[in-house]
């Protein structure tokens, strides 16, 4: 299963124009400064925003094709999406939140235990910590049994302990999930640690030399198995 993106959208200050593929079982990290168009890219892939031109396909399934006027609505794309801020439904319990989009509710408890929140199933989101909420958000996204996992800076508001735990889980299970994972971040270290491929985006375009302009790039290149940079 491979995600293929070739899109163009006019934004207020620049055109978001990008083309890349994201293979199954691999995590593609998208990094870049704030306002580079990373979140817009994720939202377009999720179908939450329209694009001016281009195509988005997941294997043989065309989600967007502006030439054919073809658009698959968000609810029909099997996506798992985790945002930076906690987005659990406040009127539901943690378990109800996770089971909300799950085609098979028997997997909900397994996921909750895996993420260490099995004991919180009857709690409302407002009664648990931020880290626990983000773990629940991951469970919610994975319980959907997605064909594509989109992560929009999911670790940036977390404490070090929760961030390490979730990064570890993601590293461990990304190949087991066997779906394309697109991870937006502005943390180069995080992109390096998790990404099999790293794409740098600046002003809406893939900018390979953006990485080399960052002062901490030498540290990244010291990793034992560096990802592919583009």
């Amino acid at each position: 299963m491979t995600l293929t993106v070739n899109i163009r959208k006019h934004l207020e200050h620049f055109d978001l124009q990008t083309s890349f593929t994201c293979p199954a079982g691999k995590l593609t990290a998208i990094i870049g400064p704030s306002g580079a168009g990373k979140t817009t890219l994720i939202r377009i892939i999720a179908g939450l925003e329209t694009l001016d031109n281009g195509t988005i396909t997941l294997n043989d399934t065309v989600w967007n094709d502006t030439q054919q006027d073809h658009f698959i609505p968000t609810c029909k794309r099997k996506i798992g999406l985790v945002f930076q801020e906690y987005t659990l439904f406040p009127h539901m319990t943690v378990r109800q939140n996770i089971a909300f989009g799950a085609p098979d509710s028997t997997k909900v408890d397994t996921l909750m235990n895996l993420f260490g929140i099995g004991h919180l199933s009857r709690h409302k989101p407002c009664t648990i910590s931020g880290g626990e909420r983000q773990r629940a958000a991951f469970c919610q996204a994975l319980a959907r049994e997605p064909e594509l996992l989109l992560l929009d800076e999911p670790f940036s508001a977390l404490d070090v302990k929760t961030r390490t735990f979730l990064c570890g889980l993601l590293s461990e299970y990304k190949s087991e999930l066997d779906i394309p994972i697109l991870h937006v971040t502005h943390d180069i270290k995080e992109a390096d640690q998790l990404g099999d491929t790293v794409i740098a985006v600046e002003n809406g375009r893939i900018t390979p030399n953006w990485l080399s302009r960052q002062h901490n790039i030498p540290n990244i290149l010291q990793t034992a198995c560096p990802p592919t940079y583009s």
């Binding site: 939450l48 609810c75 099997k78 996506i79 798992g80 987005t87 439904f89 009127h91 989009g101 959907r144």
Partner: protein, 222 residues
Amino acid sequence: MDFLQILTQSQTTAPLWLTLKVLAVSGTLHLVSGILLSYYLTSKKSTMRSVVDFLVTMPLIFPPIATGFILLMLLGRAGLIGQALPVDIVFSFPGVVIASFVAGLPLMVKPVEAALRGDVQRLAEISQVLGKNNWQTFWLVLLPNVRRNVASGWFLALGRSLGEVGITLMLGGNIIGKTNTLSLEIYNAVFSGEFERALVLSAIIGVFSLIIFIALKRLSAV
């Protein structure tokens, strides 16, 4: 003044029962149509949506007596809509209900519309990502999260309906024993010099208003 004696007089009880019946019907209409209209007004911009928005908002900014006159022209026996209807709307119970409904509708719709346009939009996106269509998202996610706004809008609409005079006067006709609501009966009592009865009627409305105020306070809407 014998408060209890005035309270039990048919001149007092009849308008009271009429008002309660009107509030029951228009309150139900407010709840159902108010929620659906609020949701519709958050849809994509269109000419139809602008027209509906204008019609819903109009009673807030247009004088009630003039609104009532326009409705009288439309719903009267010779009116554009009235002549096509099988029953008489004006100077009858349905006329009073319509007056009450029209007056309270914007106070129900506008707060709910504003709430639906707010932070809950992010929850709606999550719901769609999790595979729910627009209607499922509305019933399962949006409505439960704006329920306090729905409740406070509903109480505001009830309060406005309770005090409605201008439109009711035009559409209902203030016919004694038939379309004279509590608010109109206060006017009638003052007009005929029965100040004590006007005071008792005002006290009844005051109790209703206090209940609505307490409800709104609990919902943190005022």
